[in-house]
Amino acid sequence: MASRGYEKALTMLRTLPRVGIYNIAANPGHVKKSKRGRAQHGGDKHGAGNKGSLARQNYMRMGYETGNNPYYLRFPAEPYYVGHHLRRQYPPLSLAKLQLMIDTDCLDTSKPIDLVQICNTGYYEIKPQSKHYGVQLTDEGLDNFKAKINIEVQWTTEPVIAAIEKNGGTITTAFYDPHSLFALTNVKKFLESGEPIPKRMIPPEDAIEYYTNPKNRGYLADPEKISYERLVLAQKYGYTLPKIEEDPDYKMLTERKDPRQIFFGLEPGWIVNLVDRIILKPTDPELKEYYRT
């Protein structure tokens, strides 16, 4: 069979190098000037207009008012941003959005929900490098919240706790240091790095009070006091507290992490090998002592 022209062209194309910005030449006749000409050498205004600071391109600096007391210096200083470089940020996640995630099967309510699950939905993002310290569960849409969940967040308020416990769920507030947050927000990247799972550090001085308070359902609070506060909150908001002891999901609802633990089911110090699908555990007594809770 005689080869046709287009077939020849295609075979030629296959052997030719790939066309890219690095190997294409300019169109024939296209000349790019290396200099901006002046006067008779092609000089004109070059888009900068005629006379004045626009043509000379010596614009006044931003905020300068030609000798006036500038507006940006005219008012008294106010400590709006004092300590901004130290303040912890908790990007908000509303109960309405959480309910939507559950309704659209982005979150599995048969397992405990923590920062890993929430980040894996792809609808919530935190940046530990921007001093984001985790989820702040807000009360927007709390009247329509219907799910029964075991959730772990980093910051929340009293009405949110009431809304979740009213539906028979449980909530914990837990602190993660930035190192653990990098691991939690991108689990795959962290496990592929081959580093041992870090142990969770204790909260900073100004956050200890929040995370040891049973009213906030802090992870360092006494569980006895938390169950008491659950009852107190039910009476305050006027709902009957569902008995989670008789719930078929009792085991799931009461599952908690160790204060030094980051991932559910994995302990600090372990290395997860994704390629060989094995877990390496430390055997050195010194390492064991370090990762011990």
């Binding site: 600096r61 931003m62 905020g63 300068y64 507006y71 940006y72 210096l73 005219r74 008012f75 008294p76 200083a77 106010e78 709006y80 941003y81 901004h84 303040r87 912890r88 940020q89 908790y90 990007p91 908000p92 309405a96 921007s130 984001h132 702040q136 927007e140 849409g141 009247d143 329509n144 910051w155």
Partner: protein, 196 residues
């Protein structure tokens, strides 16, 4: 610093002998005012006077012992600048004008707020009503807000999710249909009939 000063002295024609004469004649205590005066007068006395190598070195040592920075400060200190830096020396990045976040606060919808001028001044002679007005924080207009956005770096323009933020109710404008960003939430008890 001192070496550069000495160099500049030599450039304007301060002879080493003139400096030494001053030290000898007036003593240590009178050295500073005399030297300060010399910058203007010695030039006239010795228009071509350059010290030789050895004596100028001796002068450096002498200056080290006797001179202090405050005498040189007006000469050497650069004038302070509060302008916007478009390209920093280190990484070539745009810099923030620090006076802006020191005086103004950015709400998430893009407007900046500020205190009223004179809010802390002469409160004893202002009426109660006026003092209450001065406590308020007011909005900066849109043109100025746009200008401040350009005077600060991206860090100040990104929303800050601080907890217990007193400005939290003002970061969103969900009250009016034309300023609303998100769809109006459903009333309590109402759901989409998708489940049926």
């Amino acid at each position: 610093m001192l070496r550069s000063l000495v160099n500049s002295c030599l450039r304007v024609g301060v002879s080493s002998r003139a400096l030494q004469d001053n030290v000898v004649s007036h003593g240590y205590n009178f050295f500073k005012p005399q030297l300060a005066r010399c910058f203007s007068t010695v030039l006239l006395q010795n228009p071509n006077g350059f010290g030789n190598e050895a004596s100028s070195l001796r002068n450096i040592n002498m200056l080290d012992n006797s001179l202090r920075l405050p005498v040189l400060a007006p000469l050497l200190l650069q004038q302070q600048s509060r302008t916007v830096t478009k390209f920093s020396l280190g990484r070539g990045k745009r810099q923030t004008v620090k006076s802006v976040p020191a005086r103004f606060y950015r709400l998430d919808w893009g407007i900046w707020i500020r205190r009223i001028a004179g809010a802390h001044k002469k409160l004893w002679k202002k009426s109660m009503k006026r003092r209450m007005r001065l406590e308020r924080h007011v909005l900066v207009n849109s043109t100025r807000s746009y200008m401040f956005d350009k005077m600060v770096s991206k860090y100040w323009r990104t929303p800050k999710h601080w907890v217990d933020d007193p400005y939290a109710p003002y970061h969103k404008r969900e009250d009016y249909f034309c300023t609303r960003k998100e769809p109006r939430p459903l009333p309590a008890g109402v759901t989409f009939p998708l489940e049926k």
